[in-house]
Symmetry: C2
Subunit: 433 residues, 2 copies
């Protein structure tokens, strides 16, 4: 009987899982160091909780769950798989008045979207979000930048990424300064500059009805200065309406540096819009300096969303790390962190008689803290070696008759081929060294 | 606007998550020490992958997902949420011929069942499974017992649990020896002895048509001896048909001890049936010696299930840890492991002027490896103290004008109330000590 995965989904086999868990582990350690607490929400929500939260496009992509019993037979639905981690967070905030603000949580969990599957686009993918809820001040935005730097630095990418920083209010001020009627359409066009270039964007703007002098004016406003200070000064001068935004960004940069952010990685980028409609203040996006794969993390301030169920504005700012893309970047740079879970030693079973001895050796090594696979099958030694090779285990233990007699083991380094005879304790020390 | 959770689901707020993650972390470390590799599968499968795998009762409990587009409008479904982690594992084995045997994986992931919600019964719950696929020999069963012991020992329950051990073939031999017509009904009745007592079981058996002498004979077979050796000898003598099973269990006990299992915790229990129909050999179940909450882990050998998609028998043996119940036991015994993620220090902000200094202090402490929440709100110090109290943070840092001037901090131990003035480095050392 042939079986298949559901379209657009994938398994993560051990090799992928070790990598994924290693990256998540590093990020979780960073989140914890910054005082973010873990949160988990159910995979599905009542359908009315999600309805109307993701626009018309999003609505089509929500997986709906059939009612059990009679209603289901009529095709009725009452539940839906979460589409992101933000609406569930808003629900948690609304339902838990006892939570004190600011509330900082991280959540690393899958979300589901019935998107057309494509290269790198799946119907189930893990989101890795941190959010700070209930902190209106710029310290919170700055902390997001500091977490981004700490995260990518700890993933071994120190000095190899750029954080683009902007403020939605700057773009709004621009749209109004050039006299654009449809602000959102303008933002959408500008956001494409990395993809379709300046000319492409200009064409789109012209199609939106902007005159060439308006477009010229826009490009002059989008000009990046020699450094962040210059860019911000130019913006302040050209856009009095963006005053608040400019001084926010100035404050964010100062505070982020105090919090340990690598300020040299942060570049104020007036054209950065970020797709989502809901941002209200600073926005940021991280790209790899080595691998052109688009943004590997991003986020911003969205002060009007978290309160959607609470009936009041609740300030919030957050970051999403793009796990899949980060793994691609780390892979290309050969910097995927080594898993602290991967098996270190494979203890072979020489023959039926030596099973007990092999088991005892495996136990002794585990007791010393070594991660050990004891061979549990019934094949001969040469097949066991093949297994160890296929799994790329760094060490093999052999317990032949002579080793057994002397209560020793033969320890083989699979990377060098070197083999030595030693006691269990020595073997553990060598492996853990 | 009032919002609610979907029926039978729950959020895990930080306090619960720290506990859950701490337990999962301990267990994952044990799994890794025994060479189990992580695996992840999608939340939903094609509906035909799950159909017919869980009996009539199970079929009703599967959450089905509506097709997108036209089919969905007609109420058609094509996907379903996974009901357990075992059928997906069987699918992975069938789809990945390159995986070498024995294949040992663990998976800690939610499953979904549209069960009637009740105390302790949820529609979404995390399963924590290890399975050894492709190892027919008793070493694999023994390893499961060794993992159970290592798991509960490392969770701080050493000496406080009992592992009941039996073999399905012993129960079958009994059913046949007493002349029961319906073997499954007999097993189901026997399995209830802990719940309804010997008398209750006898009544059920009588209702099944067993004569009182058959029932007497059954009870004599179910008798537990003074120790495992005595129980096994008695079984071997009374049930020649159970010969293989008895010698398997003898071998399992010897090997488990060699692998480090706490053999004193393991009790051969001829009445242990375990509900599921699919077990074919040794079965085991763990109960707390302190908290009467039913089994907190269990498993067994099921040689006919994993091959369901592959068209051949593939031997398998596995264990499921009952996370929710384990947490209840640890909680009652006050032994929930301390999270290695929980925030250690809350850095307060004395006034607007000292924001920068507080940020710098937070950064310095984080750099030293301390987990720090920097206050990001705009409330006064007394409100900040309340926040720290509510979150039960062990340490608070205060950065008043005098500390700021001397580049020091006031470090307060929230458990003792003791407060001292020191440098950042000293503060980090004290917290990490």
């Amino acid at each position: 009987m042939a079986v298949f995965l559901a379209k657009g989904t994938r398994d993560a086999l051990p090799e992928q899982m070790y990598r994924r868990l290693a990256v998540i582990g590093r990020l979780r350690a960073v989140f914890a160091r910054f005082g973010f607490a873990p949160l988990d929400t159910p995979a599905f929500e009542r359908i009315e909780t999600l309805t109307g939260k993701y626009g018309d496009e999003g609505a089509k992509l929500i997986f709906k769950i059939l009612k059990r019993g009679k209603g289901g037979e009529r095709g009725e639905t009452d539940l839906a798989l979460r589409y992101d981690l933000t609406v569930p967070l808003a629900r948690v905030i609304a339902m838990n008045n006892q939570l004190r603000m600011p509330f900082k949580r991280y959540q690393v969990a899958p979300v589901w979207r019935a998107d057309r599957p494509a290269k790198g686009r799946f119907r189930e993918f893990v989101q890795c979000d941190i959010d700070i809820v209930g902190a209106p001040g710029l310290l919170a935005d700055a902390e997001c930048l500091a977490v981004l730097c700490a995260g990518f630095d700890d993933l071994g990418l120190a000095g190899r990424y750029t954080i683009k920083l902007n403020d939605r209010r700057i773009l709004r001020a621009m749209a109004s300064a050039v006299g654009a009627r449809d602000e959102t359409a303008l933002l959408v066009a500008i956001d494409k500059v990395d993809k379709i270039g300046r000319e492409g964007v200009s064409k789109e703007l012209a199609a939106q009805g902007l005159l060439s002098e308006q477009i010229e004016r826009l490009w002059s406003l989008l000009e990046v200065g020699e450094d962040n200070a210059a860019t911000l000064s130019a913006l302040a001068e050209a856009l009095p309406a963006a005053d608040d935004a400019v001084s926010t960004l100035r404050g964010v940069l100062v505070a982020a540096e105090q919090m340990g952010a690598d300020i040299d990685r942060i570049r104020v980028e007036p054209s950065l819009a970020r797709g989502l409609d809901y941002y209200t203040g600073p926005v940021f996006e991280v790209v790899s300096d080595d691998v052109a794969i688009g943004s590997i993390a991003g986020g911003g301030r969205y002060d009007e969303l978290i309160g959607m169920f609470s009936g009041r504005d609740i300030p919030a700012v957050g970051v999403a790390f793009g796990l899949d893309r980060i793994l691609v970047v780390l892979d290309e740079l050969d910097r995927v962190p080594v898993s602290s879970e991967a098996t270190q030693v494979f203890v072979t079973v020489y023959d039926a008689e030596s099973r007990g001895y092999s088991a005892t050796v495996a136990h002794a090594l585990r007791n010393a803290g070594v991660r050990v696979e004891l061979y549990l099958g019934e094949s001969k030694l040469n097949k066991q070696f093949k297994l160890a090779n296929a799994r790329k285990y760094p060490w093999i233990v052999i317990t032949g008759p002579s080793e057994r007699e002397s209560s020793q083991v033969a320890l083989k380094d699979m990377r060098t081929g070197e083999q030595r005879t030693c006691t269990w304790t020595e073997a553990a020390d060598i492996v853990l060294a």
